[in-house]
């Protein structure tokens, strides 16, 4: 099994007619993902390489039974696009768009949570892949291998790095997920790890974090209380110069959380194996699996 997407997932792509949208959606389709529709206001009835275009997500869903939206629209229109996908009937929205204003993200998240049942992955994320089943987003599928390790990360390229290390050691993945590093991400580490814990075929979890924010510390708390599967973790930014604090307000809210040390400590206390470089992720997971 995998989480969130599999061979039955049907994807509608918002922004399929754009350069990035088209390049990656077609790659996703070549991988075997069911890309069933695209949307573009005013272009309904046209098609991109055989993928039918609809004026809006609701029409696309009613015609094609799409259940997942993949969003490539520019930042200024992303909030409306995500809400359109949620109200149009998609259960999961994967938003790749980078550069959405924080206020738009906060509003979007709030409305989704209060008025819909849809889950949002991203924004500013690479999407997710269930190897051998479906790829929704911009992850390079060549580096993945079907298997039983769940991977979750805030950083896109570090997700790839981790997956690559696992695959090199012949350790396959159930699902690999980039949650994105924006101020208000949809799904959190906790949301994803909870699903991995519940998934019968996921045997171990790789979690990749980075400095800033408190998401890793919160995930560590959750792991301590709820996760019985082995967790291998890596935190980027140990040697990075300290980022700017958001005034005194930021200092009061985050306290002494947010540093690489605090995150590594919290994860170690939660029983996770924290490695020093991304290259060690594969070896550490191999050791865990082999007991």
């Amino acid at each position: 099994m995998s989480i969130l997407i599999d061979e039955n997932t049907k994807v509608v792509v918002q922004g399929l007619t754009g350069r990035e949208g088209q390049f990656h959606a077609l790659r996703n389709r070549d991988y075997g993902t069911k890309i069933v529709a695209g949307t573009r206001p005013g272009k309904g009835g046209e098609n991109v390489e055989g993928i039918p275009i609809f004026d809006d997500v609701e029409k696309a869903v009613s015609e094609t039974d799409a259940n997942v939206a993949l969003t490539f629209v520019p930042p200024a229109f992303a909030k409306d696009a995500v809400l359109e996908a949620a109200f149009g009937g998609c259960e999961l929205i994967v938003c790749i768009t980078e550069g959405i204003p924080a206020k738009d993200e906060a509003e979007m998240y709030d409305i989704l949570k209060k008025e819909t049942k849809a889950s949002l992955l991203g924004p500013n994320c690479p999407g997710l892949i269930s190897p051998g089943k479906a790829n929704v987003g911009i992850m390079p599928h060549e580096i993945t291998l079907p298997g039983n390790i769940g991977v979750v990360s805030r950083s896109g390229t570090l997700t790839y790095q981790a997956v690559h290390e696992l695959t090199n050691l012949n350790i396959g993945q159930s699902t690999c997920i980039g949650i994105g590093g924006d101020p208000v991400p949809g799904m959190s580490f906790i949301d994803v790890i909870e699903k991995f814990q519940a998934d019968s075929e996921t045997e171990g979890i790789v979690m990749i974090g980075e400095i800033g924010g408190t998401a890793e510390e919160e995930a560590a708390d959750f792991i301590k209380q709820n996760v019985t599967k082995p967790v291998v973790s890596y935190i980027a930014g140990v040697t990075a110069p300290p980022g700017k604090k958001m005034g005194h307000a930021g200092a009061i809210v985050s306290g002494n959380k947010g540093t690489a040390e605090a995150k590594i400590q919290a994860l170690t206390d939660a029983g996770a194996i924290v490695v020093k470089t991304p290259t060690e992720i594969g070896e550490a997971m191999k050791d865990v699996i082999n007991g």
Partner: protein
């Protein structure tokens, strides 16, 4: 982007937030014109660093002579490495009470956070630590309005002076509007004061969300007024995310996480990064060649490590950019390249078809880091 105090106060103007009358000066000649301010006047150094008061960057002038004297003293002063180029002259206020208020996004709660305290004008972090009950924290749902009944509740809870409730409500409402409609990451006022001239925001600490630049043309004007360190100017003009560090291994990577991790791996191998340079997602060939140009300007760089894991970024385009920037050139330093991910095979082929004795291709991030450190010795 963090604003200067005077820039934050120009936003107060826009959002009808009461603040002292003021004038900006950039050199002493500006004082030859009438300043049209009532004495006493506060002379405030405009620097983006805390503790300017203690450093002598804030003085109260009671007349023109003192105004000239203090302006002369403070202009050009160095405060913790920041040179004072601009002074804000402000009518001094007779302060009766000082409060603290701030508006931020609480990333854990995914809601807006208002913090309010009757104990303003002092170190609010200390108040939060020693008397947490004196700091009221209130979350607002981003999709909902901040009701005036909520504001008045907050004023009562924080024990602010009830005689001024109406003007306090108004200023809090407008500050909140500035935070939300104005796409600020932070609005912090310390002190928010009750003065002889009513309720006023006496200081401003404002940070803008630059992702919202397209909504507010004035973000650009502010940006142009903020000095960029000489070392980062070139990168900024080319639209690259660059931070100068003090090591000798130049770093180019895609994605903030991978670049941060690259710095760590270089450190693990006994080296030190000369910079942080993220070419972002979906970089084109030009992006890569301008990244190499930016590093050329740094005399400390002894070797360069290009670490790319393609996703939305295509390795073939990265390789083209490297060739574009290096073809027919005598390279000043060795370049160690590691390409993986989207179109990496095509990328490696392009590199191999254009061999250069100073360009080295490595298969893993670790081995590449090791070689980059070695070559940079």
């Amino acid at each position: 982007m963090d604003l200067f105090e005077y820039q934050g106060k120009s936003l107060y103007q826009k959002f009808n937030i009461n603040h002292p009358n003021s004038k900006l000066i950039k050199n002493l000649n500006d004082l030859n014109d009438p300043i049209n301010l009532k004495f006493p006047v506060v002379v405030k150094a405009q620097v983006q660093v805390g503790g300017r008061g203690k450093a002598g960057g804030i003085k109260v002038a009671k007349d023109n002579t003192e105004l000239t004297q203090y302006s002369e003293e403070i202009l050009g002063m160095d405060i913790k490495g920041h040179k004072v180029e601009i002074l804000l002259l402000e009518e001094a206020s007779n302060i009766l009470e000082e409060y603290y208020i701030s508006f931020t996004l609480d990333r854990s709660e995914k809601k807006y956070l208002i913090m309010l305290s009757a104990k303003g004008g002092m170190d609010i972090e200390q108040v939060a630590e020693e008397n947490p009950d004196d700091l009221i924290k209130f979350h607002v749902s981003p999709s909902e309005k901040l009701m005036s009944s909520t504001i008045s509740e907050l004023i009562h809870k924080a024990n602010l002076n009830k005689n001024h409730e109406e003007s306090l409500s108004e200023i809090i409402e407008n500050l909140y509007l500035m935070f939300t409609e104005g796409d600020c990451d932070l609005v912090e006022v310390n002190p928010l004061a009750i003065t002889d001239n009513g309720v006023m925001a006496l200081d401003s600490k404002v940070s803008l969300d630059m992702n919202a630049k397209y909504k507010h043309p004035y973000f650009d004007d502010f940006e142009q007024e903020i000095p960029i360190p000489e070392s980062e100017k070139n990168a900024k003009e080319k639209g690259l995310n660059f931070i100068k560090l003090d090591g000798s291994v130049g770093i180019i990577g895609n994605g903030a996480g991978l670049v941060m991790s690259t710095l760590d791996v270089v450190a693990e191998n006994g080296g030190k990064a000369a910079n942080f340079l993220d070419i972002g997602g979906g970089a084109k060939a030009e992006t890569v060649s301008s990244a190499l140009e930016v590093l050329e300007a740094d005399k400390n760089v002894k070797s360069v490590f290009i670490n790319i894991f393609g996703g939305i970024t295509r390795c073939d385009l990265v390789a083209e950019g490297i060739i574009e920037a290096t073809k027919g050139k005598e390279l000043v330093w060795p370049i160690i390249i590691r390409l993986d991910g989207t179109n990496s095979l095509e990328g490696l082929e392009i590199l191999k078809a254009n061999p250069n004795e100073k360009i080295f291709i490595e298969e893993s991030m670790d081995s590449a880091a090791k070689l980059a450190v070695q070559k940079g010795l």
